[in-house]
Symmetry: C2
């Protein structure tokens, strides 16, 4: 029988720990951590994510500031706003919710954020520190997955981890973290992607399989070894006649057939997605403590 890795439980545990630490900091006369978020335009998904981040800040006792801009804001105006946040001593960390309108270069925006306030961990300097094993901001999805593995006591040392997908915000940093020296690392990591041949065979050799392909129910039972740990990073809206809304969320893993083979597996929804905001709060606390 497989064990479900419950994102909600992990996320609440992390938030409780952060709330305790904030209380301690404030009771010693320290400054309340302060996260700011820039939201450009009114994209539905972005609105939801940002609202959820702001609410989570309240839950743990952080201050939060939401800065909204019209979708017609110029790149220069946005850069000025970032410069102001970089200079603002009260702001410990901030994020610019992606995606941005097409007339604004996301790369330029990411490069403009002070690496010491870059709680999304997107700035090259933070990605580089991650690769070099220097403490830094780790982007939220990989950090959330590491927290899941830790808190379910899933051993990574000496295990074969297979990661499917080489994106800059999930697959790549995940491959680096798991092969890094130390706890929650020391795994032998194989990074697979669209050009990989005999993927089924490689996936089948995985003790820990991380699916971050962005392709609905891509991972099937025949790709998974008996007793493997499966982490599903995918998130797809699928039509459904069994829900009121008419749709449901599914992942990169065909859960019903894969789960029976697993020792541990994350569900979608209720898995990786829920830990990412907790990870953002961890980064903000790290920023506040390292100032």
């Amino acid at each position: 029988m497989y064990n479900l890795i419950e994102g909600k439980k992990i996320s609440e545990q992390i938030k409780d720990e952060i709330a305790d630490e904030v209380k301690k900091i404030v009771s010693k006369g320290g400054k309340t951590p302060h996260l700011a978020a820039i939201l450009v335009g009114t994209d539905g998904a972005s609105e939801t994510y940002v609202a959820s981040k702001v609410k989570s800040c309240e839950q743990v006792g952080f201050n939060s500031t939401l800065i909204r801009f019209d979708e017609n804001i110029s790149e220069n105006e946005l850069l000025r706003a970032i410069h102001d946040l970089n200079e603002d001593d009260d702001i410990d960390g901030f994020i610019v919710q992606l995606p941005l309108p097409k007339h604004i270069s996301e790369d330029k925006i990411i490069m403009a954020v002070d690496p010491n306030k870059d709680v999304d961990g997107f700035h090259p300097q933070n990605v580089g520190k991650l690769a070099l094993g220097i403490p830094s901001f780790i982007s939220a999805t990989p950090l959330g997955i590491i927290e899941m593995l830790k808190r379910y006591n899933i051993e990574t040392s000496g295990k074969h981890c297979v990661i499917i997908g080489r994106s800059n915000i999930v697959g790549r940093p995940m491959s680096i973290l798991l092969s890094q020296k130390g706890s929650s690392g020391d795994a032998t990591v194989t990074l697979c992607h669209s050009k990989t041949k005999n993927l089924k065979e490689i996936a089948n050799s995985a003790d820990i399989l991380i699916a971050a392909i962005g392709s609905k129910e891509f991972v099937t039972a025949d790709m998974v070894k008996e007793g493997a740990v499966v982490i599903d990073v995918g998130m797809h809206r699928t039509e459904s006649d069994k829900t009121k809304s008419g749709w449901k969320l599914t992942g990169d893993v065909k859960f019903d057939e894969v789960a029976p083979k697993c020792s541990f597996i994350t569900p979608v929804p209720g898995g990786v997605g829920l830990t990412t905001i907790a990870a953002l709060l961890l980064n903000t606390l790290f920023a506040a403590k390292n100032k």
Copy 2:
């Protein structure tokens, strides 16, 4: 019969191309690329490396400046020297020859170099760009190996590359480069290290095997698949009664027994080592052109 990957040939080819490009730049009234090197103390190996870098600059028509400091230089004095080079418009790139005396923090020194002049590719910002697939300075050994694969038309796309060793200057960047999108990338990469179990089995599945363990003649014939490409990054002094000097260089690969199984293999000496300086020159040219 195996093919030898000749580092000397590759290195001379690269230097010839750079020399041609320097001539073109200068003939159009452009500035001669200028590399500076800081050498602290009088370590024998460091003296040899730096002398060889300076000589290579002359070969390709670069200007070079060697700045020497006594091994008792304080960290602050060295930081000031780096600051001066950062500010010096005539210097396109510079290196600080490692290792440094123990009273100086190498991390601090590396962080002080302007990322735009960091032709060793050691600054976290350049490592991060590498991981994100943004053009940047790539540290010399991995860049040299990529040039070898390119110039011997060794296909990497879809191949299984196994890298043994996860150092920050070889194994880690190599694993990132080979799995990156595009030419000389698109490989399925497995990164192995001291905590890897059943290493022999994994190595045996490699189409391209990169040995960067730092352990003399670690890779034996039973670890290598018939027809594999083997790249040997090791460099060890071994006593020998067959040479005048009383010693010879050997690599991480037991060459005599491994070579007959290979399609391509690098010798030691005469392999990877020779391409690293050429790679440093490539980075310096890149710096000069991107100023």
